[in-house]
Amino acid sequence: MDWGVLWEYRAALATGLGITLGVSALAIVGATVLGVLVGCLRGSGVYLLQRLTASYMELLRNLPLIVKLFFLYFVVGLPAVPSALAALVLHQSAYIADVTMAGLRSVGRGQSDAGASLGLTRWQLYRLVILPQILRVILSPMTTQYVSVIKNSSVVALIGITDLTFQTQQINVETFRGFEAATAATLLYMVVAGAVIAGMTRLQHLRGTR
């Protein structure tokens, strides 16, 4: 064991961590927006939208992330970072849509009927009545989704983005200190995941749902 190698490569590890954080954060925001939208459309009761969004979810959930990533990068020919972001967003949005749908189901039919009878428009109904209630239910499953995004972001190393996983491999190649590097990277991933979990739990407390 030679833990000094981690200090020697601290700049590389910091860059990797920064890229992992950046890619994950952008992908989380994108996937949340797209996923909640798709989930709401699927729960909208409009037949055509339901079928379209159901197909979208079915297609994306049955393909591995790496297939989407390599398709966007090697076949479509997008640059590395946009391919990575698009693949992560597309992949997780299908799961977040499912979480949103479950949330919608938990809000009783009576709520949207009551909102409609008060003369709310569909947009007002979602913004003022349904989404705030869904939020209470989906924060916890959403945490799992966000941790998934962070974990999945390690796949972007395979198309040469210098994230944490890539740096670990690089250290292994240059110094054969794979064990030390992998330990450090794993711990860093755990810290990031732990921070997300802690943040989301705090949010749940603030919303008074725990």
């Binding site: 992330l65 790496i66 297939v67 190393a157 292994n172």
Partner: protein, 242 residues
């Protein structure tokens, strides 16, 4: 409503027609000679998923039992192991087993064994959570009733709790199999000739990205779709929700 149904059917028909036309346009002559190689690799992905699922399940049951019924310290250790592995990216786990463990043990494992090993570890921790949820889904009164009838602890578990827990966790088990099947594509990174790598290798040899990626997508989609259909058959909750 009926108008939308016809629009949807029209869209499906148009998509199918466009897909058939597109498939006809592609250069299949370069891909067809590799069909046996690709099919074999798809089988290898299935094999990896199913065997890792089997190993995973064997390891998951004691892990879950330890986490649910164990003494305080074993329970904490089991929880720590499960949470630590679950917080680590799957790709990192594969790298760990292939590149890093040999440094500790001093003997190199083959890429295939490393793939099988890491997928089994991944399956074990996720399945442990599935088993745990299954055990919790059985009301405590069932166990108490079994004790009241004079069953031993083990008999109560084997005859009363486990059968009910198994039935409750069947959908989640098969959902894990889908997830695991998709995860097998990551062993590409350590050079195992799974379906994903086989398609990449074929593409490097004959350069026909469009038909090959279509085959790749279709292979994974159909495999997962078949497993998902099976899940829904076993999941009354899902059918009610639809």
């Amino acid at each position: 409503m009926t108008a939308q149904i016809w629009i949807w059917r029209g869209l499906v028909a148009a998509t199918c027609a466009a897909a058939v036309w597109l498939v006809g346009q592609l250069d299949w002559a370069r891909v067809i000679p590799s069909w046996q190689f690709l099919l074999l690799a798809l089988g290898r992905s299935w094999w990896l998923a199913i065997v890792a699922m089997g190993f995973g399940l064997v390891a998951a049951v004691p892990l879950a039992l330890l986490r649910v019924y164990g003494a305080p310290w074993p329970r904490r250790v089991a929880a720590l192991v499960i949470e630590a592995v679950r917080a680590t990216p799957e790709l990192m786990i594969i790298f760990w087993v292939y590149f890093t463990l040999p440094v500790l043990t001093g003997s190199q494992v083959s890429a295939w064994d490393a793939a099988l090993g890491s997928l089994s570890v991944i399956a074990a921790v996720y399945l442990a959570e599935v088993v745990r949820a299954g055990l919790y889904s059985v009301p405590g009164a069932q166990r108490e009733a079994a004790y009241a009838l004079g069953l031993t602890r083990f008999a109560a578990f084997r005859l009363v709790v486990l059968p009910q827990a198994l039935r409750n966790m069947l959908p989640a088990l098969i959902a894990q199999l889908v997830s695991l099947f998709k995860t097998t594509s990551l062993v590409y990174a350590i050079g195992v000739m799974d379906f994903f790598r086989a398609v990449s290798v074929t593409n490097s040899a004959v350069f026909a990205p469009y038909p090959l990626y279509l085959v790749l997508g279709a292979g994974y989609f159909l495999s997962c779709w078949i497993i998902t259909r099976v899940v829904r058959r076993f999941d009354p909750g899902y059918q009610l929700a639809e």
